[in-house]
Symmetry: C2
Subunit: 367 residues, 2 copies
Amino acid sequence: MSSRLIAVYHVRSDARAIDSRANAIAVEQSVEMPLSAIEDQSILDEIVGKVEDISDLGNGVFAVRIALSADTIGTDPGQLINMLFGNTSLQDDVTLHDAEFPDDLARTWQGPHHGLAGLRERTGIKGRAFTCTALKPQGLAPERLAELAARFARGGIDYIKDDHGLADQNYSRFTRRVEAITAALREVERETGHRARYVPSVTGTLDAAQGYVIEARKAGLDTVMVQPMILGLSNFQHLTLFNPMVAFFAHPALAGASRIAPALLFGKIFRMLGADTIVFPNHGGRFGYSPDTCRDIARTALGPWHGLQGAVPVPAGGMSRERVPEMLDFYGPDVMLLIGGALLDARERLTDETAAFVAEVKGYRYG
Amino acid sequence: MSSRLIAVYHVRSDARAIDSRANAIAVEQSVEMPLSAIEDQSILDEIVGKVEDISDLGNGVFAVRIALSADTIGTDPGQLINMLFGNTSLQDDVTLHDAEFPDDLARTWQGPHHGLAGLRERTGIKGRAFTCTALKPQGLAPERLAELAARFARGGIDYIKDDHGLADQNYSRFTRRVEAITAALREVERETGHRARYVPSVTGTLDAAQGYVIEARKAGLDTVMVQPMILGLSNFQHLTLFNPMVAFFAHPALAGASRIAPALLFGKIFRMLGADTIVFPNHGGRFGYSPDTCRDIARTALGPWHGLQGAVPVPAGGMSRERVPEMLDFYGPDVMLLIGGALLDARERLTDETAAFVAEVKGYRYG
C-alpha cells in the first residue's frame, strides 16, 4: 500500500450515527463520490480514505482517525490542506484536530531553515528568551514608525516586527518604511552597539511578496513576517524555499482557530513548510486560547519531529511586562516574548519600558 | 473622512459586555493597540475602527456594525480579508456576517470578466440553466478520466469540471490530463457536434497556477477552476486579472463556512475578485447549508452590485437528477446545475443518465 497520513477529526454526532458519519468524511476527503461507482479496485484499496479508529470523547464528540493516501497530495502544500480539510471545513460538525505524517511527507518541505537553533546562532542569544515588539498603529508614516523603532532599539529589544496590519498602504509604502526603519536602527547600533532586528510584514501575491523579500534583503534585513493562511500555504512554502537565508515569522491571521487545532496548524504545518517562528495568541490575552492549547503549540513547534528544526514559539496578543516571569516560567527559555501595545502605551517612557522588559527577560532565572 | 467599508459581525456575548466587546473588535481589526497610546489625532479619527451600530438578535447573539478605513486595505485582496477578519477569526465568539463596500473599493478588482452574461454569450445557452458534472475519482489515470469525459459529453453536458481533489499528482499529471481530455472531447464534438467544456482545476503556487492556465489555454480551453481560499485571495485575483479571456470557477475548499458567512465570501468577495461561477454546497446534500443560506448566496452572486457582472451560482455537493425540477424551481434559469457522483454511479449507463439530466434541464418550464 502507498504511504498514508492520518487525519484526526473531532466530530459532533450521536453514537448511532458516528460510524456512517466517519465513513462519509473518509470519502469526502478522498474520492468524494459513491464507492459503488468506483470500478477500479486499486483506487478502492489505495486512494479511498480509511476509518482506522473511532473513540468516544464524551459530550457527543468523537475522535475519528482516517488514513489518507499521501499520493493524493504529492508535494503541493495547498493540496495537503485540501486533502486534510478542504471540503470538510464546510461542515460545521467537524474540526481538524491533528494529523500524523509519514516521514517522507513531513520532510518534503524541509521545515524551518533556521528555527530556534538558527536564530540563537545568528543573534548570539543563548539560554534566555528572545524579546520582540510590534510597530503600530496603522496609519503612521514611515518616519514616525522609524522613530518608534529607534526608541524600542534603545531599550535593547531583539526583534521589532511590523503590526500584521501594515502592508503597502498609501500612508506607509513598504519600500519607504524599510528604508526609514533600517536607517534608524543602524543609527542606534552606531550609538549604542545594540542591533535590533526589524521584521517587515510581506503581503500581496506571491510575486509581490517575493519582491518585498528582495527589498528587505537589499536593506540588510535577515527576517520577514508572513501570514501563511492569507498568502496561501503553497506560496508561503515557495517563499521559504527560495529565500533560505531569510528567517520567517508566521502570523496566524485568518487561521480560524476553532476549526483547525492550533497545535496542528501552527506547530506542525507552518513549521513543516518553513516557519522559523510561530506567532500565536497567548492564554489570558485578547484571544480565547487555553493554557493547554498554548503549551501544546509550543511543545509541538519545538519538539523533535521528523528531524526538522524546531520553530520558536511567540505567544502574543495583549501581553504586558507584568506577565514576563509567569510566561517564562510557563514556556521556559526557548521562546520569544512579544509585547507591542503595552510598550507603546508607555508613550514618552517607551524606551525605559522596553529596557525594563529586556532586563526582566535577561535577568530571569529559569527553574 | 476617508472612504469606509462596513464589516458586520455576529458576536456571542451577554448584554452587559457587548459594548466593550464591540469596541475591542473595532480596535482589533484596525490599529490593534490601546487607543491611549495613539498620539496622532488623524489616526484616531480616520484609521481606528468605529462601532456604528449594535443590535440584539436574540439568544445571546448581537449584530455589530463596524466602519473600517478603506485606506488600510489599498488594492490588495489579502489585506482586505486581513482587515475584515484576520485576527478576529481567532476568536470563536465572532463570525463575519457581512460587509458593505464603498463603490470605489468594490470596483477596484473589476469582478467577473465574463460572469453569467459572458458564459451565456460564449456557450450560446439562453433561458435555461447550465449543466455541469465532475471528473473523479482521484487516482484514475488521465486516459481513464478522458473516457469518462467523453461519455459525459455524449450525454450532452455543458461543463465538465475536475473534482477539486485532482491536482498534479503522479497518477494524473495536469498536462497529460488536459491533453487526454481535450482530445477526447474534440473527438466527441467531431462525431456529435456537441462541444462540452472541460474545466481543469489549477492549484499550487501562483506561478504554478499561472503555468497551468497557460497550458489550458494552449489546449484550447477557456475555463479553469480555482480554490481561492487555498491559493490565497491576492493570488486568485491576480490570476483573473492577467487572464481576462479565461472564465474562473471558484471552489469553496477550506472556506470554513461557519466563521465567514457564505453569501459574503462567495457571493461578494469571490465575485468582486473575478469569479465567474461560484460552486457551493446546496441544501439537502452532504453539507449543512440551509435553503435560506443557499438562496442568499445565489441572490448575492447574481444581483446588481456596484456594476459588476453577475457570477453564476453552482449549487452542488451530493446532488442527483431527481432534484433537478426542485432546484430549477428554487434557483430559476440563471444557475449551473452540477451533478457528479450520482451520474458516475450510473456506471455503464453514464451517458444515458447524463443525457436524461441534460434533457430535464433543457425541457424544464420555468414558472
